[in-house]
């Protein structure tokens, strides 16, 4: 029987090598591509009628648009308008990655630390660049809150810098750990179900509840990742 961690294995589907670097099309790549295709079909397909009174599908597409637009408006402010496509892409990418992973025999690319870390690091770089472009060297006052006694600077500045630098780490580990733990649990209980024979209904019942819980986690973690990105962007634009 397959172990609970086997589901996370990267399998090469089409071996590709660019120079000396392995750029193979893997199961992770496949599900990233499926996510992109699904998101595009979801939005473009939903809006194909451009109906004044939307149907169900169009309502869902509009709802996701307005949900993220509202999130950006409330958490970043009016200056966040230009980052909306990025935030929207990020949310949908993570959401679809998480939800596609809930389909049996599929692959969850958000359960890989390297993927979530790359996304988080990308956000970190973008946010820092935005802050530097907006405020120049004034950006570095971010690490010393206004009004704090100067004597506390040796303590506060390292703490602030550390907390700033730990953003991508916490952002990526939160998503990765949630997805990996959830999928491992599902697999463990699935193994119990098979191993316990007649009494397998108990772990099966647990799994039914877990699946519901995991769908919640899938949506929630996409939301958390996105809203934290919005808050970081807000900090970058407004500095505190």
């Amino acid at each position: 029987m397959a172990g609970p961690l086997e589901q996370f294995e990267i399998k090469t589907l089409v071996p590709i090598t660019v120079g000396t670097t392995d750029a193979s099309f893997t199961n992770a790549s496949l599900f990233m591509a499926i996510a992109v295709a699904a998101i595009t079909v979801f939005i473009v397909g939903g809006m194909r009628g451009r109906a004044l009174v939307p149907g169900r599908w169009q309502s869902m597409a509009e709802l996701s648009y307005e949900f993220i637009a509202g999130m950006v408006r409330d958490n970043v402010g009016s200056k966040g308008r230009q980052y909306f496509p990025l935030i929207f892409s990020l949310f949908m990418f993570i959401l679809f990655g998480n939800l596609l992973g809930m389909i049996p025999y599929s692959f969850t690319f958000t359960s890989h630390i390297i993927v979530t870390f790359a996304l988080a690091a990308f956000i970190f770089v973008v946010v820092t660049l935005v802050a530097l472009a907006k405020h120049g060297l004034h950006f570095f006052t971010y690490f010393f809150p206004q009004g704090a006694p100067l004597a506390t600077a040796p303590l506060i500045i390292p703490i602030e810098i550390l907390s700033y630098l730990s953003r991508p780490v916490s952002l990526s580990i939160r998503l990765f750990a949630n997805m990996m733990a959830g999928h491992t649990m599902l697999k463990v209980f699935a193994i119990f179900t098979v191993a316990m024979g007649v009494f397998g209904f108990a772990p099966l019942a647990v799994n039914v509840a877990l699946i519901g819980f995991e769908i919640l986690v899938a949506v929630l973690q996409a939301y958390v990742f996105t809203i934290l990105t919005c808050l970081y962007l807000h900090d970058a634009i407004h500095l505190h």
């Binding site: 961690l5 086997e6 996370f8 294995e9 990267i10 090469t12 590709i16 660019v18 000396t20 670097t21 392995d22 750029a23 193979s24 099309f25 893997t26 992770a28 790549s29 990233m32 591509a33 996510a35 992109v36 998101i39 595009t40 939005i43 473009v44 809006m47 451009r50 109906a51 004044l52 939307p54 169009q58 597409a61 509009e62 648009y65 307005e66 230009q82 909306f84 496509p85 990025l86 929207f88 892409s89 949908m92 990418f93 690319f109 359960s111 890989h112 630390i113 390297i114 993927v115 790359a118 996304l119 690091a121 990308f122 770089v125 973008v126 660049l129 990765f176 990996m180």
Partner: protein
């Protein structure tokens, strides 16, 4: 701005890919599949490709369509609201005109009623006055007649009194009194009273 994001993403992706490629030479897959550094490079490369594609698709194709539909709808709703507002204004104007006409008609009716009642009053007063005058005339005429009758009656009373006095004088005194003297004596006795 978009270009910068994309460039940053691609640059980041390639940096990670390079780092992963160098790290991959040291170790190979044992334990958690997530920590297998040999598989970092393809994931990072494909993440950059797919996420970049998604960003382009969303920002160039998908999101403008949604925005367009939402804008059209908002415009449509605002248009309808404006038209409804206009119609309400018109209805209010019509209502005001109607109410004004009603008030006008009411005041006109009141004025007409007042006029009519005044005219009626004037006519009735005129009639009353006429009737009063007629009655007075009649009363005056009647009084004249009464005075005449009274004078006539008084004349009769005088001659009767004179006769009675003459007769009484003859009976009592035993002498005749000339009728003319008798009458003068009676008239003198009555004084100015008749």
């Amino acid at each position: 701005m978009r270009g910068r994001f994309l460039a940053a993403g691609l640059a980041l992706g390639s940096v990670f890919a390079a780092a992963a490629a160098t790290a991959a030479e040291g170790q190979s897959g044992a334990g958690l599949p997530q920590l297998d550094a040999t598989r970092f490079a393809p994931q990072l490369i494909w993440l950059a490709i797919t996420f970049g594609a998604l960003y382009l698709l969303m920002s160039r194709v998908a999101l403008p369509r949604v925005a367009e539909v939402l804008e059209t709808r908002a415009d449509h709703i605002n248009d309808d609201l404006r038209r409804a507002e206009e119609s309400r204004g018109e209805a209010e104007a019509v209502m005001q005109a109607y109410e004004k006409a009603l008030v006008d008609a009411r005041s006109k009716a009141r004025a007409a009623a007042l006029e009519a009642s005044e005219a009626a009053k004037a006519i009735s007063e005129e009639r009353q006055r006429e009737a009063g005058r007629t009655l007075q005339e009649e009363a005056v005429a009647a009084e004249g007649r009464i005075a005449e009758a009274k004078a006539a009656a008084m004349g009769n009373v005088r001659s009767v009194a004179a006769e009675v006095a003459i007769a009484a004088t003859k009976r009592i005194g035993g002498f005749d009194v000339d009728a003319e003297r008798g009458a003068a004596a009676v008239a003198a006795a009555m004084g100015g009273r008749a």
